[in-house]
C-alpha cells in the first residue's frame, strides 16, 4: 500500500466515522420521540388492528394464546351481517354524515367571515372581538355541552327567544325527527322499503334530527373561533400590494375577495377543511356527556358506538373494527377534498384569454409609463 492510498483510506475512514457519528447522534436525538410514538401510537394501533380481527373478549392480554384470529367477522357484523350491529352502525354513519355535511361548510364560512371582520384595520376594539370569538374554542367541550343542554332545554333560553316570535320551540335534545322530513312521520314505499346498512333510504334522506342540529350549532360555535385564528394568520400574511394592484385595476370589493384574496387562502382553506373533516368524523365528547346517542339513536356516532361496543357490551372486536372503518372514511374524505381543492392547470381557452390580457396590459403599461414620464417632465 502506497502512502497516498493509505492517506486516502484514512480520510475516507475518518469521513465515514464522522457521518456515522452524526447518524448516531441523530438517532439519539430522535430516540425519545420515536420511543414515545412507538409506545403510545404505533403499538396501540397495531394491537387495535389485531383486536379488530380477533375474538378477544376483554379479559387479559389480546396477545395471549386463548385469543384467535377470526378474519373479517367483526367487520362483517357491522357492515353486512344484517343484524342489530349493522343497523346501529348504519344509523351512526347516517347521523355523522349529516353532521359533517352541515358543520364543515358552515364552520369554514363562519370562520372566514369572522377572520375578515376582525382583520379590518378600521375596526375598533379588534383585540376584544378576536378574544371573544376565540373564547368558545378554549373552553372545555364538556362545559360547553352542559351549557348547551341548559340553553336548548324545553324551557331554556333558546326556546324563550323563539317564543318572542310566537313560535313554540321544539324539545331540542328529545326530538328525534329528521329536519328534512318536515314533520312527516312516514314516507313513500320506495324510500321506506329499501335500506342501506340496515337504515331505510327515507331515514338516510331525513337529515340530522333536531337534537343533532343543536350539536351542529354547538360545533360551529366552538370551532368557528379556532379556524378564524388560522384564517386571520393567513390574511395577515398576504401582502397588501396584490390587493392594491387589484384596486388600481378597478376591481370592486367582491371581485377583490373572490378573485384575489380567496385564491391566495387556498392552503389555509385546505388545512381548515381537513381539520374540520377529521374533527367532525370523530365527534365523541358531546355525545358522551350530552345525549348518549338519544333520542332514538339520532345522535349516535361511530366514535361513540365504538366506545359503547367495546367498553359496555364487551364487543371489543366490533369496537376496534368500527374505529378502523372510521379511519378509512376519514382518509377517503380527505383524499376527495384534496383532489377537489388541488390547483388545476389552467385550460387552453382560459390561458388564451390571459396571454391576450397580458399583451394588452403590456401595451397599456407602456402607455402608462409614457404618460407618467411626461408628467414627470412637467413636474421637474
Amino acid at each position: 500500500m502506497t502512502a497516498a492510498t493509505a492517506a486516502r483510506a484514512r480520510v475516507s475512514r475518518r469521513r465515514s466515522g464522522v457521518s456515522r457519528g452524526q447518524a448516531l447522534s441523530g438517532w439519539l436525538f430522535t430516540a425519545p420521540v420515536l420511543v414515545i410514538l412507538g409506545l403510545f401510537l404505533l403499538i396501540p394501533v397495531l394491537m387495535a388492528a389485531w383486536v379488530s380481527v380477533s375474538d378477544w373478549t376483554g379479559r387479559g392480554s389480546p396477545l395471549s394464546p386463548g385469543v384467535h384470529f377470526i378474519g373479517a367477522q367483526n367487520y362483517g357484523q357491522v357492515l353486512w351481517a344484517g343484524g342489530l350491529s349493522e343497523r346501529d352502525f348504519g344509523t351512526a354513519l347516517k347521523n355523522n354524515f349529516w353532521y359533517v355535511i352541515l358543520v364543515v361548510p358552515i364552520q369554514t364560512v363562519v370562520a372566514l367571515a369572522l377572520a375578515l371582520a376582525v382583520n379590518r384595520r378600521m375596526l375598533r376594539g379588534r383585540g376584544f372581538f378576536r378574544t371573544a370569538f376565540y373564547f368558545p374554542s378554549v373552553t372545555s367541550s364538556v362545559a360547553i355541552t352542559v351549557l348547551w343542554l341548559f340553553l336548548f332545554s324545553t324551557t331554556g333560553a333558546v326556546n324563550a327567544v323563539i317564543a318572542w316570535f310566537g313560535v313554540k320551540g321544539p324539545n331540542w335534545f328529545n326530538a328525534p325527527a329528521g329536519i328534512f322530513h318536515f314533520g312527516a312521520t312516514s314516507g313513500p314505499a320506495l324510500l321506506t322499503g329499501n335500506t342501506a346498512l340496515g337504515v331505510s333510504w327515507w331515514d338516510w334522506l331525513g337529515g340530522p334530527s333536531i337534537a343533532m342540529t343543536a350539536f351542529i350549532i354547538l360545533a360551529v360555535f366552538t370551532t368557528g373561533g379556532t379556524f378564524m385564528l388560522l384564517f386571520l394568520a393567513a390574511l395577515q400574511n398576504l401582502s397588501g400590494d396584490v390587493e392594491e394592484a387589484a384596486m388600481v385595476d378597478g376591481a370592486n370589493s367582491a371581485q377583490r375577495f373572490f378573485r384575489v384574496t380567496l385564491p391566495q387562502l387556498r392552503p389555509t382553506l385546505f388545512t381548515v377543511i381537513t381539520l374540520g373533516l377529521i374533527g367532525c368524523w370523530q365527534v365523541f365528547d358531546q355525545i358522551y356527556t350530552g345525549t348518549h346517542g338519544n333520542p332514538s339513536k339520532t345522535t349516535l356516532t361511530p366514535a361513540y358506538l365504538s366506545y359503547t361496543a367495546a367498553f359496555q357490551n364487551n364487543q371489543w372486536g366490533q369496537g376496534a373494527a368500527i374505529a378502523f372503518i372510521l379511519f378509512v372514511i376519514i382518509i377517503v374524505f380527505t383524499i376527495i377534498q384534496r383532489v377537489v381543492l388541488a390547483e388545476k392547470k389552467v385550460s387552453k381557452r382560459r390561458m388564451g384569454w390571459i396571454t391576450r390580457a397580458e399583451r394588452q396590459a403590456d401595451t397599456n403599461g407602456t402607455a402608462a409609463i409614457a404618460v407618467q414620464g411626461s408628467y414627470g417632465e412637467q413636474n421637474s
Binding site: T57, G58, S61, N171, N174, P176, K297
Partner: protein, 408 residues
C-alpha cells in the same frame, strides 16, 4: 461503530423492558393467592350517603379481619370494570349489574362463588335467578327494588280523589290519569323505556324474554296488548313520557309536578325528600293487568374478580356485607331493600310506607340478561320513545328478531 452497537443494544434492551412491562400489564391473571393482601372495592355510588355507609361497613370488616380494604367510587363503573378486566388487575370486589353479568361471566372474568355462601337459601329466588349463569349463582345479590305506582297525594285530593279511587285495574288507571290531567300537569309521567313500560308487559303476562333469558318472547300478544294500552293513553294525553315534558326521568317530572303519578322504584324516595321536600307522595301497588299483578325488578350483586389475589378474604367481606345487620344498615342509610328474606319483616316495620316495593318480590320479573341483551333493550327504548306515533307490532317484531339473533 462500537458506540452505535452499544447504543443499539441499550435501546433494544430498553424496548424489551418496556414491552415486558407492558406485557405484565396485560398479563393473564394466573394470580397467586395471598390471604393477607389488601382488597380494593369499586362501587357505583348513588351519593354521599351510600359511599359513607359502604365505607363504614368495609372499615368494620377490616378491623375484625385485619386486612386493609379501600373503597373507590367509580365515575363510570362499566368502563372502569372493563379496563380492570383487560389489564388483568381488576378491583377485587365490585358492584355488578344484571345486564353486565352474562358478558363478564362468559369470558371468565368473574369468580363464581354463589355456592360457597352460607346464606344462599335466604336470597329471594327471583334474584338468585337473575345472577345465575350456567346454572350457578355467580354472585350475591346486593339489594333490589321493584317498580310501583307513586302518587302525589296533594294533587290526588285536589282532583277530588280518595283512597278508594286508588287504581287496581288498567281501566281505573286510565280514568284517574284522565282526572289528574290538567293544563301543564299530566296524569301519569314515566320514562319512555323498557325499564318502565315493561311493567305493563308483565301485567299483561308478557316480557321481552322468558324468566331464564333463554327464549325471546317479545312478539307475544301480551306485550302487544301492553304497548297498545300505553299508546292509547299517550294518544289521549293522559300518559306522557318524561322526555316529552322536558324531564330527565319520571322522578324529576313527579317532583316538578309535571305529572301527578309516576312508576319508579324505591330510589325515588331519597331523591324526592332531597330535591322536592314539599311534594307529598304515597307508594301503592301497580294496578293489575289482564294477567294479574306484575312488575319488573332491578338489582346489583357483589362481584368478585377471578383475577383477585385474595379471593378468600373477598368472599368473607361479601358474606359480611350481605348479612341481615349490614343490609338493614344500608337500608337505613340510603333506602335500599335487603336481598334476603329474613330481613323482610324488620325492613317493613322500619319503612311501612314503602312496603308495596317489597311485597312485589314474590311475582316481580327480571329484565333480559342474555349476553348482548342490553343492546337490544337500548334499541327497543329508541323505538318506544316514539311509541305515540309508532306501531307497537313493528317494534315488537324487530325486537324479537334482535333477541333471537342473540340466542343463535
Amino acid at each position: 461503530m462500537k458506540i452505535s452497537r452499544a447504543v443499539a443494544v441499550i435501546a433494544a434492551a430498553g424496548l424489551a423492558v418496556g414491552l415486558t412491562a407492558c406485557g405484565s400489564g396485560f398479563g393473564s391473571g394466573g394470580s397467586k393467592q395471598d390471604n393477607t393482601k389488601p382488597l380494593s372495592i369499586l362501587i357505583g355510588s348513588s351519593g354521599d350517603a351510600e359511599t359513607a355507609a359502604v365505607k363504614s361497613a368495609v372499615a368494620a370488616w377490616s378491623k375484625t379481619s385485619g386486612i386493609k380494604a379501600t373503597v373507590t367510587v367509580a365515575s363510570d363503573l362499566n368502563q372502569q370494570l372493563a379496563q380492570g378486566f383487560s389489564s388483568g388487575k381488576p378491583a377485587d370486589v365490585f358492584y355488578l349489574s344484571t345486564d353486565a353479568l352474562a358478558g363478564y361471566a362468559s369470558n371468565g372474568s368473574l369468580y363464581s362463588y354463589g355456592d360457597k355462601l352460607p346464606n344462599k337459601g335466604d336470597f329471594y329466588p327471583t334474584l338468585v335467578k337473575s345472577f345465575t349463569f350456567d346454572n350457578k349463582l355467580v354472585c350475591a345479590p346486593k339489594d333490589f327494588s321493584t317498580l310501583q305506582l307513586i302518587i302525589n297525594t296533594d294533587l290526588w285530593s285536589k282532583a277530588g280523589l280518595t283512597d278508594s279511587d286508588i287504581p287496581t285495574t288498567w281501566d281505573q288507571l286510565s280514568s284517574v290519569a284522565k282526572k289528574l290531567t290538567t293544563g301543564t300537569q299530566t296524569g301519569l309521567v314515566i320514562g319512555g323505556e323498557y325499564a318502565r313500560v315493561g311493567a305493563f308487559m308483565t301485567e299483561a303476562g308478557g316480557n321481552l324474554m322468558n324468566a331464564d333469558s333463554t327464549k325471546a318472547t317479545a312478539d307475544s300478544d301480551a306485550n302487544l296488548k301492553a304497548l297498545q294500552y300505553v299508546k292509547d293513553n299517550l294518544t289521549a294525553g293522559d300518559f306522557k313520557f318524561a322526555a316529552d315534558v322536558g324531564a330527565g326521568w319520571g322522578g324529576e317530572a313527579f317532583g316538578k309536578q309535571l305529572g301527578a303519578m309516576t312508576i319508579e322504584g324505591n330510589w325515588i324516595t331519597g331523591s324526592q325528600t332531597a330535591d322536592y321536600p314539599n311534594v307529598h307522595f304515597k307508594v301503592v301497588p301497580l294496578p293489575k293487568g289482564p294477567a294479574g299483578a306484575g312488575t319488573l325488578q332491578f338489582s346489583n350483586c357483589w362481584g368478585i374478580a377471578a383475577d383477585s389475589a385474595n379471593k378468600t378474604s373477598a368472599l368473607s367481606l361479601v358474606e359480611k356485607l350481605t348479612t341481615k345487620a349490614d343490609q338493614l344498615a344500608f337500608a337505613k342509610a340510603f333506602g335500599v331493600m335487603p336481598s334476603i328474606q329474613s330481613a323482610a319483616s324488620e325492613w317493613k316495620k322500619e319503612f311501612p310506607s314503602l312496603a308495596p316495593f317489597l311485597d312485589a318480590a314474590k311475582y316481580a320479573q327480571n329484565v333480559p340478561a342474555a349476553k348482548g341483551a342490553s343492546d337490544v333493550v337500548t334499541d327497543f327504548n329508541s323505538q318506544v320513545a316514539k311509541l305515540a306515533s309508532g306501531d307497537p307490532k313493528t317494534i315488537l317484531t324487530s325486537t324479537q328478531q334482535n333477541l333471537e339473533a342473540l340466542l343463535k
